[in-house]
């Protein structure tokens, strides 16, 4: 039964009609539950979602025609300064249980066994790129360089916001180092 539902999900693709929204929401809740609680189907679900018919539609980098983000345009603090920013990039560690031989590579700076997940999202809280599977000991900038060599590309002139752990380069806009932070622009009492 679940297999049928997943193939239905995969077949949805682009033309997702509003009429279906409610039932699709229910289907998703169902799948989310299975992903969390039931081991037997977990591979089916992740395989089904990894189908390019689904994954390329729901997670993709911006192309030349992608319009500027409304979040930026509508905010005078960000526009026009960050008009060419198409997203933000960061890494996050998740706990993992590698085989004994591989443990050393998975140990991160805090001594925990983790994998380091590299992801990019746009300003609407949608993931647009992900690279998973790196060992916890890999540095953020190392994974970035790998992604860039592999398939991470942006339209000309566009860039991503990154923290100071990443290199300053074409694709990334990083903060200045050694600068005061937690400032307020106008002070609390004067926000308009």
């Amino acid at each position: 039964m679940l297999d049928a539902q997943i193939s239905q999900l995969v077949s949805l693709q682009r033309d997702f009609s509003t009429v279906q929204t409610q039932s699709q929401g229910m289907l998703l809740n169902y799948i989310v539950k299975y992903l969390s609680y039931d081991d037997r189907y977990i591979h089916h679900v992740s395989d089904a979602l990894a189908n390019p018919n689904f994954s390329d539609v729901y997670m993709h980098l911006p192309s030349d025609g992608t319009p500027l983000s409304k979040i930026i345009i509508s905010n005078p603090k960000f526009y026009p300064y960050f008009k060419d920013a198409v997203g933000a990039v960061d890494c996050t560690h998740i706990h993992t249980r590698p085989s004994d031989g591989a443990r050393a590579r998975y140990r991160d700076r805090n001594g925990a066994l983790t994998q380091n997940i590299f992801a990019i999202c746009n300003f609407l809280m949608i993931f647009i790129y992900v690279l998973s599977g790196w060992e916890g000991s890999a540095s953020d900038s190392h994974i970035f360089h790998f992604a860039r060599r592999r398939d991470l590309e942006l339209p000309k002139g566009k860039y991503l916001l990154a923290d100071a752990g990443f290199p300053s380069c074409d694709l990334l806009l990083v903060p200045y180092r050694g600068v005061r932070y937690h400032l307020k622009e106008w002070g609390r009492g004067n926000q308009k």
Binding site: S55, F166, P175, G178, L183, K184
Partner: protein, 159 residues
């Protein structure tokens, strides 16, 4: 009432102290950069909130886990794209707390060892020309921002 108005006076005064405002183009740039970049921290928070398995780990092999993370992200996107109101009240609450947690005392970036994996020594084929261009781009954004900010400060009557 007396105490209240005094309190109001003091908070007004403190909030206007220029010390807490950015003092140069670098500080202003970092401040706004952090505000905008914050979305990626919120999305990771939301993902781990929605799928606690990511927070607590699982017995699956690293390979399966790596695939699962992608699946979770796709589901996150799917929900978010088709159901804008999906941001459940609890998730909203969670994200709100995430924000307020960050209101820690003022300090200097990169002095606390956070996120310092030694980006300096890992150039990996990055040409110095590219780096210089990127730094120049950052400077021009920061300076443009600063000019506008100073102009607005004057307009608002700050000195």
């Amino acid at each position: 009432v007396e105490i209240r108005s005094k309190l109001f006076y003091w908070t007004q005064l403190i909030s206007q102290l220029s010390y807490f405002r950015p003092q140069n183009h670098r500080e202003l740039f970092n401040l706004r950069h952090a505000q905008l970049r914050n979305v990626v921290e919120r999305i990771f928070g939301a993902l781990k909130w929605r799928f606690p398995i990511l927070k607590y780990g699982s017995e699956y092999s690293p390979k399966v886990q790596a695939q699962l993370v992608i699946a979770y992200m796709l589901i996150h996107n799917f929900i978010h794209i088709h159901d804008v109101d999906d941001i459940e009240p609890e998730l909203q609450q969670f994200l709100h707390e995430l924000e307020s947690d960050k209101d820690t005392p003022m300090g200097y970036s990169n002095s606390d060892g956070d996120n310092e994996d030694g980006a300096e020594d890992e150039d990996e084929g990055l040409s110095s020309e590219e780096r210089e261009n990127a730094d120049e781009r950052r400077d021009s954004i920061a300076k443009e921002m600063w000019e506008d900010y100073v102009a607005e400060l004057c307009q608002r009557g700050y000195t």
